[in-house]
């Protein structure tokens, strides 16, 4: 198991390395740059800007500098002066070793367009909002999807099953881009029960989380139903019934645990999908998360923001899958690595 975890961790590093290299290449092969304006910038200023923001030298040198700033940790003393190019995400005081010493790690660099802001400061202020929204949507998806799937499976080929699965197919057909405006109209404009858009108050979370989570809840419901039906046909369920256990005990203690394994395996990709889905949701509901920054940074060629965001989200994706793989091994005793 420890070997398996270590293997997956090495894989994570390799993947992030490749993802960052591809993103970097894709971004930098395009003509034009972040400082290209209609009026043009005097050559000397342009050179100074490029010097300051690590845009000189060959692409490989620039990439090495950029990735080095992120992965190489630094131990600094009191001569360290924080600035736009010197801003670390993780800062740990090491006073117990020596006064004024800090351990600093992950410098994602400055934003090229939003002067005086660093990628880290964007992460710190806006990422928690996206994460809150993504988590809330995941809870909505699970709270609706899993019970609906169980009810449909236990009442197979009845009106509950048909209605539930019909709603599920319709649910899959309603992406957040449709669900969002619909909810805004019904609950915000027509019935005045929830705010149409905005962020900060608890009631602001409800609509976006539901809009984002609903389509995924439909997927979860279908998966839960299918998996529970399959498990209910297994021999050990027949054995449990033959022992004279009540149906409730059979379902709750014997069938459910195993039937949830496929459900758990999709939770990783699901959370990743929800997290990228927050981009859409944030645009619709006017939520100040990461989405807005990413879209404007792409059109503005704000390289550090683009690459930082992609790297971060890819990290989430791979990490989520890794956690799922480990949970999978833990849930199903037949799986051994």
């Amino acid at each position: 198991m420890a070997q398996f975890v270590a293997q997956r961790f090495l894989w994570l590093i390799l993947v992030l390395f490749v993802v960052s290299a591809i993103t970097f290449g894709l971004m930098r092969l395009v003509p034009g740059g972040p400082f290209a304006t209609e009026r043009g910038v005097p050559d000397t200023i342009l050179r100074a800007l490029e010097e300051k923001y690590n845009l000189t030298g060959t692409l490989i040198e620039q990439y090495a500098k950029w990735i080095g700033d992120i992965i190489v940790p630094r131990v600094t003393d009191d001569t360290f002066r924080p600035s736009a190019v010197n801003d670390y995400l993780i800062n740990i005081r090491l006073d117990f070793i020596k006064a004024d010493t800090d351990f600093r790690w992950m410098n994602f660099g400055p934003s090229l367009r939003i002067r005086s802001r660093t990628v880290n400061s964007i992460f710190e202020e806006n990422l928690p909002i996206s994460l809150q929204l993504g988590t809330a949507a995941l809870m909505v998806a699970m709270a609706i999807g899993v019970p609906a799937g169980i009810i449909a499976a236990l009442n197979r080929n009845t009106i509950y099953d048909y209605t539930g699965m019909g709603v599920a197919i319709i649910g899959v057909s309603i992406p957040v881009i449709i669900m969002g405006p619909l909810l805004q109209y019904l609950f915000g404009v027509q019935w005045h029960v929830l705010p149409v858009s905005g962020w900060g108050k608890p009631e602001n979370v409800i609509m976006p989380a539901f809009a984002l989570g609903f389509a995924q809840s439909a997927l979860l419901a279908r998966l839960t139903r299918a998996s529970l039906l399959q498990v209910m046909n297994e021999d050990y369920i027949r054995t449990a019934r033959a022992k004279g256990l009540s149906e409730r005990v059979v379902v709750l203690f014997h069938a459910l645990k195993n039937s949830l394994i496929p459900v758990v395996t999709v939770l990783g990709p699901l959370f990743a999908a929800l997290l990228t889905g927050t981009f859409v949701t944030e645009t619709i509901f006017g939520i100040p998360g990461m989405g807005r920054f990413f879209v404007t940074s792409v059109t503005n060629r704000d390289y550090p923001v683009i690459m930082g965001t992609i790297l971060l989200y890819a990290g989430f994706l791979v990490l989520a899958n890794m956690v799922v793989d480990i949970t999978y091994a833990w849930l199903d005793p037949r799986i051994r690595y």
């Binding site: 971004m27 405006p181 027509q190």
Partner: protein
């Protein structure tokens, strides 16, 4: 075994796979027709293909003609359907104009005509998206599954890495990449011609290709898995023993036999492609104005949702219908092509 023996008698194995293949598809078609929801989906899709083809004849007005005096106006039935839109003559703010069947947008363009022309964008993505995904995914999966061993391992690791990319972010990046790298080229180069073709299609080409190129991994995995399961079958062995080349075995014997799951998987992915396009247009990286796209229309409407909800809800309903249709058709196809799967997933 009968097939193999017959094939050996005739000396040409591929002749026999054909009538059998046809009967499988005929069989599937018969089952599909019995599935009411799938037929409904098919009818919606055929109708929208017709709407897209005859858009200029069907649309009551030009989709890009702005009559600023009529902006945000709506016929009376729309204001009755959306009670928050109080008509101007009843003390509200919505100008009543019956010459727009479902109203006009903020620039005074006919909403219905824009929805009709918007069908073209969604359908283009629905067909070019899977096509470009198949163009990459099928050969990739075929080669990986057929070669097996170390090559397979390596190719599947590439797929794993691609999976780590957040798709939506990669598409946004690709869009920016395509647009700016073709925009600044000299006439005559390939990139320039591509850019012109894209502009002629209102920006649809790059969307469909970008969406397809970021979505081929699932297909590659599926094809590889299927190839692994048919690779050791007797009819492949028979074909090989008769001297059919690698390419012949892959494309003539393996591919037709695994076409069913591919068709099902791609049909079920079409709604994802369509919603990607809608989202790209929503954030302004999609089709170029004034080409109407449902996603772009929803975006414009959503900005004014408190005042004119109809402008967002109507295109949203159109988008919902087409996604719903492809989902039901895909579901029906799965049941029809693989009866064993019915009720399992």
């Amino acid at each position: 075994m009968a097939v193999v023996q017959q094939g050996q008698n005739q000396g040409v194995a591929k002749l026999d796979s054909r009538p059998q293949g046809e009967s499988l598809w005929m069989d599937a078609w018969r089952r599909l027709r019995r599935n009411r929801m799938a037929v409904l989906g098919l009818i919606i899709i055929i109708t929208s293909v017709l709407v897209a083809a005859f858009a200029p004849q069907l649309a009551p007005k030009a989709y890009d003609k702005q009559v600023l005096a009529d902006n945000n106006s709506a016929p009376r039935w729309v204001t009755q359907l959306f009670p928050s839109m109080r008509p101007r003559d009843e003390g509200g703010y919505v100008p009543i104009n019956e010459s727009y069947p479902i109203g006009a947008d903020g620039l005074g363009r006919d909403l219905l005509s824009r929805i009709i022309f918007g069908t073209r964008v969604s359908l283009a993505v629905a067909f070019i998206g899977p096509l470009s995904a198949m163009l990459v995914g099928i050969p990739f999966g075929l080669v990986a599954g057929y070669l097996g061993g170390r090559a397979d391992n390596f190719m599947m690791r590439i797929v794993d890495i691609m999976y780590a990319f957040p798709t939506l972010l990669l598409i946004i990046l690709l869009m920016a990449f395509f647009r700016s790298s073709t925009a600044q080229n000299d006439p005559g180069t390939f990139a320039y011609e591509l850019g012109r073709l894209d502009a002629a299609m209102g920006g649809m080409l790059f969307i469909a290709v970008g969406v397809g190129f970021t979505s081929w991994m699932g297909l590659a995995r599926l094809v590889r898995g299927q190839i692994l399961s048919v690779r050791e079958k007797e009819y492949i062995e028979a074909a090989r023993s008769m001297g059919v080349g690698t390419r012949g075995i892959m494309f003539r014997h393996m591919l037709p036999n695994i076409l069913g799951p591919i068709v099902v998987a791609e049909t079920l992915t079409i709604p994802t492609y369509i919603s990607f396009e809608a989202f790209l247009s929503f954030i302004g990286l999609g089709v170029q104005a004034p080409t109407p796209s449902w996603g772009g229309m929803i975006a414009e409407g959503a900005r004014n949702i408190t005042s004119y909800p109809s402008q967002a809800i109507f295109p949203a309903v159109a988008l919902f219908l087409i996604m719903f249709a492809f989902n039901f058709l895909g579901d029906g196809l799965r049941d029809a092509l693989d009866p064993r799967m019915r009720g399992v997933d």
